[in-house]
Amino acid sequence: MTAPKRVERPLSPFMIGPYYRPQMTSISSIMIRITGAAQVAGIVLLTVWLLAAAVSPGWFDRINWLATSWLGWLIWIGSAWAVWYHLLGGVRHFLFDAGRGMDIPTAEKLGWAMFVGASALTIITIIAAIV
């Protein structure tokens, strides 16, 4: 009796769950796409808010009420994290394009740096808004 042959070929990250163990390299890459798409919510809110400010005080009051409600702040802060994460992901793309940081230990560290960096930059943004 021989043990069943181990699967050596790479698996698609779309098999996340019982078949694919998530790693920092694949998850940090997928998160760039997710944060890119998620920013639409913040951009649409920003554009509607700008239009309201341009049109009339009445419209500004209505949209600004939404923009400064708990839902509004959730969208702004969530968008800020998404923007910073996506930006750091872009910087990593430039590093990879230059052929740097491609070895797995460095790539794993870069993934962690994106999550930690985006969170730190979001906190700095909130502090800059308050101070």
């Binding site: 639409v40 554009t47 700008l50 239009l51 341009a54 005080p57 009051d61 930006l87 943004t125 808004a129």
Partner: protein, 123 residues
């Protein structure tokens, strides 16, 4: 009669027939956004929650008006191209074409709406 050889017509274009144009557009807009976005995000964060007149004055400032215009135009074109890549990864046929058009429509609606607001605020 074709004057170009089949090889000459195919060379450098790849399966998408556009060569590296899409990739280069993402790299170039990415580099631009690396400079535009941090400045814009910090100024926007400091403007949110302020009163009507302060918000209007902030975006009527020439520097901020131009920065916001660049942020919306470069950002939304970057979004449309990025979304296109994602759509091409997951969908095929009619749905693919329709979703790419939808992504472009959203991008140009935001650009158009934003520019109208900026012109009205700045003039």
């Amino acid at each position: 009669m074709r004057y170009l050889t089949p090889r000459k017509r195919a060379e450098g274009l790849g399966s998408a027939r556009h060569g590296t144009r899409h990739h280069m557009a993402m790299v170039i807009s990415g580099w631009a956004l690396l400079f535009i976005v941090p400045v814009f995000v910090v100024i926007l964060a400091r403007t949110l929650g302020r009163d009507f007149e302060t918000v209007r004055a902030t975006f009527a400032n020439p520097f901020m008006a131009i920065l916001t215009g660049l942020f919306l135009f470069v950002g939304m074109r970057h979004f449309a191209r990025g979304a296109q890549t994602a759509i091409e990864d997951y969908t095929h046929g009619f749905a693919r074409e329709a979703l790419i058009m939808l992504a472009n429509a959203i991008a140009y609606l935001v650009i158009g709406g934003g520019f109208y607001a900026l012109v009205k605020l700045a003039l």
